[in-house]
């Protein structure tokens, strides 16, 4: 466990800088060393985002770049679009299920592992290895496991289920309340994709929680036990509150991954019938690079960026503030 712990410690240590004898020159040299990266980020992150924003306000919806100003027309069209409405529903459902499942799975595995077991190392490695794989590989393999006429369904057949679920080809949406043009609810097809995503990413949550659990001194648990708290109470009243910052980090990191999810869906299902497994990332890709609707694609991209920013910016600002203290 040493690596996890040391990474943790390094992270928590306040950053200091060389104070004595700092030549004015050295500070300038330092700035110039940063300059190439700063310029690159300024141009290729912020400048290009601005450029994409500009494209999203134009009518460049063919192969030839044609930039007539149409204002928010592309955005208006998107929000009235059946496919994009489906995407927003899918993203919401996917994100909620994915984060909740990663938190529960990751915390459970971490708690189980945090008991000085034999073979801890092996189990830990098994739970994390999917992180080393690409979403494409994950998608290709899970596509077969959830193939309606084989895979898990062979098991379910043996267990006596006459009509097992058809997984990612299911078009039902539960409960399916009319909302705008779409049925609002949980698209059943998405469950298979969420399970594959959990398989890939919950090991990360486990690693974070395990590092967190190992950083809690035993004395704190002991003190609670001496005060007469049972194991469950120690966990709920002492350990869980101490793990809150980790839970927050996990939610933000897994959340931004699920808002951007693309490769896994491409490899596993694509948009799906009636767009039951479509997500903005896939829509943006298809509309821009298959349909040459650049302005519309740019508008989807900007909306994806806004969704991620709502999650990420407060987090970045607060961690910058914390560091300044």
């Amino acid at each position: 466990m040493e690596p996890l712990r040391s990474a943790q410690k390094t992270d928590d240590r306040p950053v200091t800088s060389v104070r004595t004898r700092t030549g004015i020159n050295d500070k300038w040299v330092g700035f110039f060393l940063l300059l190439p990266s700063l310029l690159a980020i300024a141009v290729f992150v912020y400048g290009f985002i601005g450029w994409t924003g500009y494209v999203s306000l134009s009518d460049w919806n063919s192969l030839l770049p044609r930039m007539n100003w149409v204002g928010l027309e592309n955005y208006r069209a998107l929000f009235q679009d059946f496919r994009f409405q489906s995407d927003l529903r899918n993203t919401l459902v996917f994100t909620l299920f994915f984060i909740a499942a990663c938190l529960v799975t990751g915390l459970t595995l971490a708690v189980l592992l945090d008991r000085k077991l034999k073979g801890e190392h092996l189990f830990r490695n098994i739970f994390i290895f999917p992180m080393a794989l690409s979403f494409i590989v994950t998608g290709v393999v899970w596509q077969w496991i959830f193939n309606p006429s084989t895979g898990v369904n062979l098991f379910l057949n043996k267990l006596g289920f006459e009509e097992p679920p058809v997984w990612y080809v299911d078009t039902r949406i539960i409960p399916g309340v009319e909302w705008g043009q779409i049925q609002f609810g949980i698209p059943l097809a998405l469950i298979a994709v969420v399970i594959a995503a959990i398989w890939q990413m919950s090991g990360f949550t486990m690693a974070m929680y395990l590092a967190g659990l190992r950083a809690i001194p035993d004395e704190i648990r002991e003190a609670a036990r001496v005060d007469g708290a049972g194991e469950w109470q120690v966990f709920r009243k002492v350990i869980l509150p101490l793990l809150r910052p980790i839970t927050l980090s996990v939610m933000i990191i897994q959340g931004h991954i699920s808002l951007k999810i693309f490769d896994l869906v491409v490899a596993m299902t694509g948009p799906g019938a009636n767009f039951v497994t479509d997500v903005p990332g896939v829509y943006m890709f298809e509309t821009t690079f298959r349909g040459n609707h650049y302005a519309q694609g740019a508008a989807i991209a900007i909306l994806m960026l806004l969704m991620v920013s709502v999650l990420i910016i407060p987090y970045l600002v607060s961690s910058m503030r914390k560091e300044a203290d």
Binding site: A7, T10, D11, R13, P14, S17, T20, R21, D26, K27, V29, G30, F31, L34, S37, F44, V45, F48, I49, W51, T52, P65, T108, L109, L112, L117, F123, N125, I126, F127, I128, M131, A132, S134, I136, V137, V140, V141, Q143, W144, I145, N147, T150, A207, A211, I253, L259, F262, D263, A267, M284, T288, Y294, G297, A301, L305, V308, I313, L316, M320
Partner: protein
């Protein structure tokens, strides 16, 4: 060793979880060794009757040029972005100036953006500088968007190096560059290992840039794998062999250098 019922339940749960995590591996490996007539839907879970290497031969024939593309892509991209990250991390942790924390946060934001939001201008830009549909073009892109994460990891890493060492070197007459070359760089090997593994894995596994910025012959392996599974008749044994071939480099790294991989993982998560 004491046997408590709690322990047994713990082990049972862990074994169950491990089975879930390993199932896709079993499916992938077992299927890849089957011949075409054996890799059928109803016999999916069975072990292959004999080790049939044919699917690997076919998958290798289709994927090997793209595996090479990925290699030519991932190695330079990793090296360049690690080098930039090391310099940035050094300045931002040891030579902080007014506004450097803000600049760092602005750099960091680049790590979280959906790359769709810069893709259209990037295509135009790469066409303009004649790097569209080329591995050097992809290297460029990965170096640029690797800056945030490599800077973050190195900054955290250098924060663990005591300032006293730097001060002593300063008294000996070293400036910012001398300290970097004589003190920091030699101490950076573990940092480079973590960043190198992390970046290599990321670049190797990346799909969106790969599929939009290159076409056929230049495709890195993940795009070729995706095309393999999207093609006419689905031959599961070849697909699974292909998936395994494409996954092998990062899996090997994980098996051999797993603890550095996890360190990078956690360092990438800001403040755990």
């Amino acid at each position: 060793m004491k046997f408590k019922p709690g322990r047994i339940v713990t082990y049972l749960l862990l074994i169950l979880a491990a089975a879930f995590f390993l199932t896709p591996v079993y499916v992938m490996v077992a299927t890849s060794f089957k011949g075409l007539e054996e890799a059928t839907l109803d016999r999916m879970w069975e072990l292959p009757s004999s080790l049939n290497w044919e699917s690997y031969a076919i998958a290798w024939e289709k994927l090997s040029p793209h595996l090479m593309n990925s290699l030519y892509l991932a190695i330079p991209a990793t090296l360049f972005s690690a080098l930039l990250g090391s310099i940035n991390g050094y300045v931002l942790s040891k030579w902080r100036f007014r506004g450097s924390d803000l600049l760092f946060t602005l750099i960091l934001f680049g790590m979280f953006i959906p790359y769709q939001s810069i893709l259209i201008p990037m295509i135009r830009f790469l066409q303009e500088i004649q790097l569209y549909n080329s591995i050097p073009g992809l290297i460029f892109v990965h170096v640029i968007y690797g800056i945030p994460i490599t800077t973050l990891i190195f900054r955290n890493f250098y924060a663990g190096i005591p300032d006293e060492i730097l001060e002593a070197a300063q008294i000996d007459g070293n400036g910012i560059l001398g300290i970097y070359r004589r003190i920091i760089l030699p101490l950076s090997i573990p940092g480079f290992v973590v960043v190198g593994i992390w970046q290599f894995t990321q670049v190797w596994n990346e799909f969106l840039f790969a599929v939009t910025l290159t076409s056929t012959a230049q495709h890195p392996v993940m795009v070729a794998l995706q095309n393999l599974s999207g093609s006419q008749i689905v031959q599961w044994n070849i697909q699974m062999a292909g998936a395994l071939l494409a996954a092998l480099p990062t899996l090997l790294i994980y098996v051999l250098l797993g603890r550095y991989f996890i360190r990078g993982l956690l360092a990438g998560s800001l403040k755990g």
